[in-house]
């Protein structure tokens, strides 16, 4: 009994010391205004150890997703993994760190020597691409919270006409190109700014983005994974890598019997159906070869037109940069220089820079946009050229296969296949 009393006294003593030690040395004045400090829009930075934990979880998720899809062939397993990803990388980590957005960090680090990326960001950028190179887009299937939040809402997906899908398929390239241009010029991280689901993960965000997020989730009921298919810039890189994947998932575990049962199973229209033999007559093949050659030769023209067009738009594009816009604004309205109510002008005035320095910097940035415009436009011209050229490419298809670039490796189609692999 005496021993217990001693322990209680000792415990109380330590508790008192703990409370005393944790008391604020400098108490904040107690205001009575009811003012609430707005919460920051990005999560607090984590310790290195926890960042490495995130890397480990990403690696584990990618490995598990690849195993579930390719070896275990379990749609249910992939679904549960994507729910875990949604909870961990989405709601717990509040959408940051994110492979999709890491494109911008990597780009800025390449173009701005003063900007450094952590090894964690680099791994988050590279790891899904490496997995895609070997196993297809298993990142989209089980390790991406943005994909997961849309995937669980797929209800009655409709299949859009091919020409619509092809046209919409150009948007991710445009988005990727703009994201790289804006990151390279230090203008903005537009992928992060227009992440439509991060507002849900953080339970906070600009109302415009919340509306866009809700709209995309509603759309996902009938047009599966709209963000992944129409916007995701990282999907472009995954698409490229996945096309070369050696161990990509297959619809059938053995030999395809072309039963057509899997044909409507993919909500993303990523199943390639066998091409009818009668379409591929010698005459058609010869015509297509001519067109293919013509459009292949036209690709440099497309690239030049694209480069010229985008580079010519550098004035408009560069307005997104704070310094460019501010210098133009102050040249057009010099009276605003004394407008201390305007936060941007106030921030500029307090930075200690002169107006001449601002204008000089703006000119430099605009020149970067002009050069970058050629690359962006050339890239977009190349994409358009290849898209048109591909219209005349026929590949022999005798079985039902997922399109390696477009397939998210979700595994839905596997459940439709009646073929059983004999052991």
């Amino acid at each position: 009994m005496k021993s217990i009393s001693q322990k209680i006294v000792l415990l109380s003593f330590f508790l008192l010391i703990f409370v005393q030690a944790n008391a604020q040395r400098f108490p904040k004045p107690e205001f009575e205004s009811g003012y609430e400090q707005p919460s920051p829009t990005t999560p607090e930075p984590r310790s290195n150890a926890l960042e490495y934990l995130d890397v480990l979880i990403l690696l584990a998720s990618l490995s598990l997703a690849s195993w579930l899809v390719i070896k275990r062939r379990s749609r249910r397993g992939v679904l549960w993994l994507s729910i875990f990803t949604l909870l961990y990388f989405g709601f717990y980590r509040e959408g940051c760190i994110c492979s999709v957005g890491s494109i911008q960090n990597i780009t800025l680090a390449l173009f701005d020597p003063a900007y450094k990326v952590s090894i964690t960001v680099l791994i988050f950028f590279l790891l899904p691409l490496v997995f895609a190179l070997f196993f297809g887009r298993t990142f989209c299937a089980g390790a991406c919270p943005l994909g997961a939040i849309q995937d669980i809402l797929v209800f009655r997906p409709v299949s859009l006409p091919v020409w619509v899908r092809k046209t919409l398929g150009f948007i991710p390239y445009l988005y990727l190109g703009l994201a790289v241009l804006y990151a390279a010029t230090g203008t903005d991280f537009i992928i992060c700014r227009y992440d439509p689901f991060v507002g849900f993960f953080r339970m906070d965000g600009p109302y415009t983005m919340i509306i866009i997020g809700i709209a995309l989730l509603l759309l996902a009921l009938f047009f599966a994974r709209p963000y992944c298919r129409v916007f995701c810039p990282y999907g472009v890189l995954l698409n490229w890598m996945s096309r070369f994947s050696k161990y990509h998932m297959t619809i059938t575990p053995a030999e395809c019997i072309s039963c057509k049962l899997c044909e409507p199973s993919c909500p993303f229209d990523a199943i390639e159906i066998p091409v009818s033999e009668k379409v591929r007559t010698q005459k058609v093949l010869r015509q297509n070869l001519k067109r293919f050659s013509l459009y292949a030769l036209l690709i440099p023209v497309w690239m030049f037109i694209g480069g010229y067009a985008v580079s010519s738009s550098h004035v408009l594009l560069s307005k997104a940069h704070q310094d460019v816009y501010l210098s133009e604004l102050l040249i057009a309205h010099p009276e605003l220089k004394s407008d201390t109510k305007n936060l941007d002008i106030k921030a500029f005035l307090e930075s200690g820079k002169t107006f001449d320095e601002l204008v000089a910097n703006a000119s430099l940035i605009r020149a970067k946009f002009k050069t970058g415009g050629w690359f962006l436009g050339g890239f977009l011209g190349l994409v358009i050229g290849i898209m048109i050229m591909n219209q005349f490419v026929f590949r022999t298809k005798t079985i039902y296969e997922p399109h390696k670039g477009d397939c998210f490796s979700c595994g839905r189609c596997m459940d439709y296949c009646p073929v059983v692999k004999l052991k």
């Binding site: 400098f26 108490p27 004045p29 107690e30 205001f31 009575e32 205004s33 003012y35 707005p38 009655r156 409709v158 299949s159 859009l160 006409p161 619509v164 919409l168 948007i171 537009i190 227009y194 600009p206 415009t208 983005m209 509306i211 866009i212 709209a215 995309l216 509603l218 759309l219 009938f222 047009f223 709209p226 129409v230 307005k319 997104a320 704070q322 816009y325 501010l326 604004l329 309205h333 605003l336 305007n342 936060l343 941007d344 002008i345």
Partner: protein
């Protein structure tokens, strides 16, 4: 009912309609993104979500304002530092000068000092000037009688007060009050700590730290970080205090208020605040009695005027932002 379902189903099956709806939705989403992107520009942004609008606290009930401004004395290109009023004469110090000004604004006398006077206190025999790290004692003819350095690398002297032969010096840099005799010998110093290590001492986040002696011989020191005014014995023992933290007119707000104080004949306090600049009068227990000058009388986010009190209760405010001595008298 069956017919209605059939129509819905037909609509659902109509691929063209659905395609158009999907495209429309995507177009709206894209348009929203573009509009948002183009709208986020320096001259098109909405209100700052982080701004704490204090406009409502600038409005003061006119019934509380019992003083009116009756006169002001421009200081020209002089750089003022401190003010005191003694025997109906205004003693002003600043960069390299001490001025004695008649209440009608005419200069009565002046003398040069070496450095910037930050605070000043006039007595029957002496004029005491506090520089940043030194104390200068003059007679009324401007002759330097004594001077000494306050030895510490962080010293910032912000206020001096006199009681008999004791000279109290507020050192904001070291958050302490020093007590000297007029010969410059250090008698004691204190940091406002209560009972050894218990409780806080003076919390002085900026160079606003005041010491005054009232007509009853009581020593009062501001504790601006605590929004408090504290009463000490001559040896630095805390006797009592009052504190008011509030954005409302009844209290003090910000990092360091009251920034300046003076004492009226009856023991009540004249307080002056920075940031949301205002001058008020509190009784000895800390109850707000009246407002001398509401925020509208001063520059926005300005410095706290230094205050001093005349014999008949008129209040002199040294307005650093407008370089004026401003006189406020009861209405």
């Amino acid at each position: 009912m069956h017919s209605r379902h059939s129509k819905l189903y037909a609509l659902y099956m109509n691929k063209t309609t659905l395609t158009l709806l999907v495209l429309l939705a995507l177009a709206i989403i894209l348009a929203l993104v573009v509009v948002d992107f183009m709208g986020d520009r320096p001259d098109k942004r909405g209100e700052n979500p982080y701004e704490y609008n204090v406009d409502q606290f600038k409005v003061v009930d006119p019934g509380l304002v019992h003083y009116r401004e009756t006169k002001n004395i421009p200081l020209g290109d002089r750089v003022p530092g401190g003010i005191d009023v003694f025997n109906e004469e205004i003693f002003l110090t600043g960069l390299n000068f001490v001025l004695v000004i008649h209440p009608d604004g005419l200069q009565k006398s002046s003398f040069l000092i070496d450095g910037k006077g930050e605070c000043i206190k006039a007595t029957e025999k002496n004029i005491i000037v506090g520089l940043k790290t030194a104390v200068l004692v003059y007679d009324h003819s401007g002759k330097l009688i004594n001077s000494w350095e306050v030895e510490n690398g962080r010293t910032i002297i912000t206020s001096v007060a006199v009681k008999d032969d004791m000279l109290f010096v507020a050192d904001a840099g070291n958050r302490r009050v020093l007590r000297y005799n007029l010969q410059g010998e250090l008698q004691t110093e204190f940091q406002g700590k209560r009972d050894g290590n218990a409780g806080h001492g003076f919390i002085v986040p900026s160079a606003n730290f005041e010491v005054v002696v009232n007509s009853f011989g009581e020593l009062w020191v501001t504790n601006p970080g605590e929004h408090a005014v504290e009463n000490y014995t001559d040896n630095g023992q805390l006797r009592g205090y009052w504190a008011k933290s509030s954005m409302e007119i009844e209290g003090f707000t910000g990092c360091c208020n009251p920034a300046e104080i003076a004492v009226l004949e009856d023991g009540s306090f004249v307080t002056s605040e920075k940031g949301l600049v205002r001058i008020k009068v509190y009784d000895a227990s800390g109850k707000l009695i009246s407002v001398v000058a509401p925020p509208e009388k001063f520059n926005e986010e300005g410095h706290a005027p230094e205050v001093s009190v005349g014999k008949s209760g008129q209040i002199y405010a040294l307005d650093f932002d407008r370089n004026l001595i401003r006189l406020f008298e009861k209405q």
